[in-house]
């Protein structure tokens, strides 16, 4: 199956993918890790806030809102079937 690596902020609503890497300072990265943002975890783009940002992601049974400035440092392999 064909996959490509993309920033989480660029993924579209409805896309799913597997977290590949996270490029953020340790304290932010640790907090995100507690929420489930770790390499290998499946993430889904659920919806955008009314103003278009932040975006709500579904990861490991919970929903987390992130601003695009944070999400742009999280990279994932988009699941090819949903990356339309």
């Amino acid at each position: 199956m064909k996959t490509k690596v993309t920033a989480l902020s660029d993924a579209k609503v409805g896309n799913t993918g597997i977290v590949e890497s996270i490029d953020l300072p340790a304290e932010v990265g640790d907090y995100l890790a507690h929420l489930g943002f770790l390499p290998g975890t499946r993430v889904e783009v659920l919806r955008r806030a009314p103003a278009g940002d932040p975006t709500v992601y579904r990861i490991d049974g919970i929903e987390v809102g992130l601003r695009s400035e944070t999400a742009s440092h999280i990279f994932l392999k988009l699941n090819a079937r949903t990356a339309v």
Binding site: D30, A49, P50
Partner: protein, 645 residues
Amino acid sequence: MSCHAPVIEPVLEPIDPAPAPPASGKKPALRTVALIGPPNSGKSTLFNQLTGMRQKVANYPGVTVDYHSGRMKSIGRSDLTLIDLPGIYSLATYSEDARVAVDVLTGKMPGVPKPDCVLLVLDATHMNRQLMLAAPVFSIGLPTLVLLNMSDQMDERGGRLDTLALARELGHPVALISAAKGTGLDVIPEFLLHADDTLNTKLRPVQLPVLQTPSACRTWASQVTLRSDYQSPAASRWTQRLDSVLLHRIAGPLIFLAVVFAVFQVVFTIGQPLSDGLGNLLTHLGAKVALLLPDNWLRLLLRDGLWNGVQSVLVFLPQILLLFLFIGVLEDSGYLARAALIADRVMRSIGLNGKAFIPLLSAYACAVPAIMATRTIENKRERLATILIAPFMTCSARLPIYTLVIAAFIPNHLFLGGIIGLRAIVMLSLYVLGFLAALFTAKLLNSSIMKASTAPFILELPQYRWPTVQGLAMRLYDRGMLFLKKAGTVILGASFVVWLLSVLPVHFAGGTAHVSDIANSIVGHLGRFIEPVLRPLGFNWKIGIGLLSSIVAREVIVGTLGTLYGVDPATHAVGLQAALRHDMTLGGAIALVVFFAFAMQCTSTLAVVRRETNSWKFPALQFAYMTVFAYIAALITNQVIVHLF
């Protein structure tokens, strides 16, 4: 789809059946049980289920973290005390909450007995993350029962978990429960019996990996859940449906505004009659009791000095409780997190972290806990900015003076076919005014002290839930007690001082003592001394005295005015609203509430700012800035209204 038995029997297998300790006579009795769990795991609901409503709130010594404790009466163990620890994700001691939890669990918290066993509450709907707290809790070595909460959600949304396998993996008994529905809780007394029996035996040391980093913790948790045949439940369909409306591009913000409007409207349409009724009752009661007293200084002291002031403030209890009922419903249902998401864009435009939203929101209740809550903001400059703007948020202490003035001066016109009243609109405008002042100040600070903002916005959105009656009742109880306590201490004291100064000096003539006429009393002289400064604002000297006394706390002004107008023969017989209408212009009245929207009339807030910033510089600066701000705004308000009407 239910792939597991609805309620799994507890597994007590890991407790080592091996050598009983040297028989030294009596077993130590089980006394104290600690309740621990991550935020939103349903810990408070469980706490209420286990203790009933007989619990007390206290502060851990030396720190600002509140805790509830109570007897486990609901499960027939009133001999046991349950301590509710702060909701935390990990025991890493970088947060104060986590440090408190570790200190209590290891028996190092002065004044708190060392727990004999632990109830660990985890949200079963996302175990991978919740289990990250389990390893450090187990390593403390106390007998621990793992309660997987939200079993009802697991069932409804197709989740699955083999609790027997999980218990084997963890080396501790595990049970699925639903704290909200009250199901599965019978494992708790059973565990406590076993914990009782095995207190003298040693638990088998659990072989857990050394979990230094979150990712190591996480990897361990994933392996454990994998071996326990865990399937996290699908997203709740209700949450998805609700969010598609409540976070809708257009409907979302509109609903947000409608919700805020509805809250204020109800505070008036339901709260005002309740408040008036309570007022009548208290007046009646006061008059009845006064008749029983001899007609001398004692009656004066009790009725005019104490009762009038305290009663004027007490009548606002229904409105305050209603407001907190709404805040409680919004928070417990999960809507508040959505509101934060909607508001983030505005917060960002003024250079504030979305995380500042939660402290600022709680400042609508009271600035003191809000300022303490800013500890979650890592960036020092952002934290300072949040501390400095928090007191502009309309706290509940402003509610008494707002509702008093609005009820006295604003006619109850209805618009849009009776949905929105003029009073609610004025009230909401005052809240917006405070918020705008906060925005303005944040902008000001942003261009001076806060250059770079890097802290991220990370917000967990819980699934929507029905708020529980017990949870809401608990909040209202806490809030109500706090209010009554303040009425019984600060407001009572201030009323007494104001009354005393309004009857002194005592003159002796013809062998009998005569108290001063209010105009010639100390208060009268002081009031007229400051009157020239306040006249342009449309305030008379009595309002001036009210302002001076309210530096202690905002509600005190209502108590003071109650005392002053009660002592004055001209307004003695009428209620406070009528007295104000008789004594103030519309301009002065509106200027008064505008003054209160901006002024820093609260010694508790000043003290907490001093403590949190560790310097007198910031509270002094804040006090001066807000007072000048309030004075100028009130001056403009009065002058504009005087020239318009």
